[in-house]
């Protein structure tokens, strides 16, 4: 069943362009959203039972002959699968209304499904080379989606994104080749075993530096972040949401974490490097966000900063830190997708992303402004929303592992975060209504509905934080914490 996470979107994506010939809008809408909703429902209800007896490994057979398909699910990948399913379901619903005027909806959904299939594949594989391949599946689909509007700025951004992303893939490839050359194996366990036998310190260090650069580029950690503020704002809003909410986390943070925890084993050195890279990202990107006048660009910089928190939390390596990092990943996925979606609603209603030109939109777009406010407050770490708890957990984990300097930086940076979000909220939604927008209307039904779902989630994640942490985050964190002991 779990193979459906790769197979189903792939198959539906393959037939969608053909379906698009028959029905331009309705069938693609129904099919794609059906897939997303099904995957989400399955992740929430059925999939947990699979893990009752520990991590699950599956091999497939072709007419009785075993095939070389091996997938594995553990708490960590299941958690990530759920996050992917959740955000893609909301983004899918939002696209029903938003993508109307772009045309070629069937094609759009096909690409979106490919991207989701790529991400799901990445979460289920058991070997390094497969990580690379599914990284590329998701990446190729995302290049096209960034450029989907075919405007000048979008094509340029997609091109720049492609160029830097290729560098990332190359770095990952070199690292994989290096490890294969060293150990003669590609599977996680094989490479981990080989590395332990060899005790190859220097070569291991170079491979991990290359992985850090490659996945750092994918995750947009400073100094590998430069492509993101161009690529994410240029894309159509649902794509921005899925890129910022999911792709950078799955192809960056997840892949990096999986390899560092389960292949290399998190050494104190790696832990320090991860934490400092995370911290630098948090601070630099937060300062950059402060200066932005473009709503989506501000959100893009904020993504870099928040991914920094996730990496910082995971990098601590203590159970509390990992739990905090993963919980922040979830909170950020929900809240940042929400914010990008609301920014899309604003852009569609007003035709601008410039904060200076907005103002007073709360009066005309109450749903959009309220949901955007909730998302902002959640990311900024304001109680009782989810972001508060995850940041608190990360900061507590820092204190617990005796890193007061990092803890203080993390707290101060969250003040910065709140600051630029307050600026954004005030410029866009509060204050006097700009007369230009006197006739602006609230977002259409599906767009409003999906933002409401996400906003409610922000609230629920905060209010029910202890049960969310114990049922979803803790199993994932346990897997990682155990991985360190390997």
């Amino acid at each position: 069943m779990i193979f459906l996470y790769i197979g189903l979107p792939l198959i539906v994506a393959a037939v969608l362009p053909l379906v698009g010939k028959v029905s331009k809008k309705v069938l693609p809408d129904v099919l794609a959203n059906g897939v997303f909703l099904f995957l989400f429902a399955y992740a929430v209800t059925g999939a947990r039972g699979l893990l009752a007896g520990g991590a699950l490994h599956q091999t497939f057979a072709w007419f009785g002959e075993p095939l070389g398909i091996q997938i594995a699910v553990d708490g960590f990948s299941l958690f990530m699968l759920t996050v992917v399913a959740l955000v893609s379901a909301c983004v899918g619903l939002y696209s029903i209304s938003y993508m109307e005027h772009y045309g070629a909806k069937a094609n759009y959904y096909a690409l979106l499904l490919m991207m989701v299939a790529g991400m799901n594949g990445l979460l289920l594989v058991t070997d390094l080379f497969q990580i690379y391949i599914f990284l590329e599946v998701a990446a190729v689909a995302s290049y096209a989606l960034v450029a989907f509007g075919r405007e000048q700025a979008e094509l340029e951004a997609a091109f720049k994104y492609l160029m830097l992303s290729v560098v990332a893939s190359a770095a990952v490839m070199i690292a994989i080749a290096l490890l294969y050359g060293l150990t003669g194996s590609l599977s996680f366990t094989g490479v981990a075993e080989g590395l332990r036998q060899l005790d190859a310190k220097a070569a291991g260090a170079i491979a991990s530096a290359l992985f850090l650069m490659g996945f750092g580029l994918k995750a947009a950690l400073v100094p590998f972040h430069a492509w993101l503020p161009d690529a994410h704002p240029s894309a159509p809003a649902p794509i921005s949401a899925i890129l910022s909410g999911l792709l950078i986390k799955v192809s960056g943070v997840y892949a990096m974490t999986r390899i560092f925890f389960h292949v290399f084993g998190l050494t104190p050195a790696l832990s320090d490097v991860l934490m400092w890279t995370g911290t630098v990202s948090i601070v630099v990107a937060a300062l950059l966000a402060l200066k932005q006048r473009d709503m989506k660009r501000m959100l893009a910089y904020s993504s870099i900063s928040q991914v920094g928190y996730v990496v910082l939390g995971i990098g601590i390596g203590t159970p509390l830190g990992i739990a905090g990092g993963l919980f922040h990943l979830l909170n950020h996925a929900v809240a940042k997708s929400l914010l990008f979606l609301t920014s899309g609603s604003v852009q569609q209603a007003t035709g601008t992303r410039n904060l200076d030109e907005m103002g007073g939109l709360a009066k005309r777009m109450p749903v959009t402004s309220t949901t955007s406010l909730i998302g902002s407050l959640s990311i900024a770490g304001v109680p009782p929303l989810g972001g508060f708890w995850s940041k608190l957990l990360i900061i507590m984990a820092l204190v617990q592992s005796h890193r007061p300097v990092l803890a203080v930086i993390a707290v101060l940076a969250s003040v910065l975060t709140l600051w630029y979000y307050l600026i954004m909220q005030r410029q866009a939604f509060f204050g006097k209504l700009n007369e230009r927008w006197a006739a602006v209307k609230e977002a259409p039904f599906w767009m409003a509905a999906s933002t409401i779902v996400l906003a409610v989630l922000c609230l629920v994640l905060g209010l029910l934080f202890s049960s969310v942490v114990s049922t979803w985050i803790q199993p994932a964190a346990d897997v990682l914490a155990q991985g360190m002991g390997m």
């Binding site: 772009y102 790529g118 075919r150 094509l155």
Partner: protein, 161 residues
């Protein structure tokens, strides 16, 4: 290592660096194609014909065509003026990188012990089908994504657009 290999590899590095530095994007794309062509030849010489074929057909061929089309789509009139220092940043880092790379790798490669690779039996096709089936699915997906990308980007404008 034969002189030819050294020439090929240096050419590869130079062409890649030019691809990054070239102001004209068309020239950059061509330089990239040249570098992947050289890489393909290196693959052939190192007894990896399949990799070589893929490299030359996919990267040097298909991707270059895509690039040039994209660039043609994105061409604009105005030239952006940039300061000289900005232009110097990359070469400085690049030279630094190559220098450190040369110094470190030389010492490193001599020392590293490696484990033998697991014996891979059978023909190329056998390996691909029996052991790396999943890769095949992935690669299919990559190609599918690429096709969709082309379809999406070169779509005709819809009536209702």
């Amino acid at each position: 290592m034969a002189t030819l290999d050294i020439v090929l590899l240096s050419g590869l590095v130079l062409a890649s660096a030019f691809a990054v530095l070239a102001k004209d994007l068309i020239k950059a794309a061509v330089a990239l194609a040249v570098s992947s062509l050289l890489l393909g030849i290196v693959f052939f010489r190192m007894n990896a014909p399949f990799a070589g074929v893929f490299e030359i057909s996919v990267v040097a061929g298909l991707i270059t065509v895509l690039f040039i089309l994209t660039i043609a789509l994105t061409r604009t009139e105005g030239e952006v003026r940039e300061s000289k220092t900005v232009l110097r940043v990359f070469p400085v880092f690049f030279v630094l990188f190559i220098a450190i790379d040369a110094l470190v790798m030389k010492g490193l490669t001599a020392k590293i012990a490696t484990l033998p690779a697991a014996a891979e039996s059978g023909t190329f096709g056998d390996v691909l089908w029996k052991q790396r089936t999943f890769d095949l699915i992935g690669q299919l997906a990559v190609i599918l994504s690429g096709v969709f990308a082309v379809l999406a980007l070169f779509r005709k404008r819809d009536k209702d657009e």
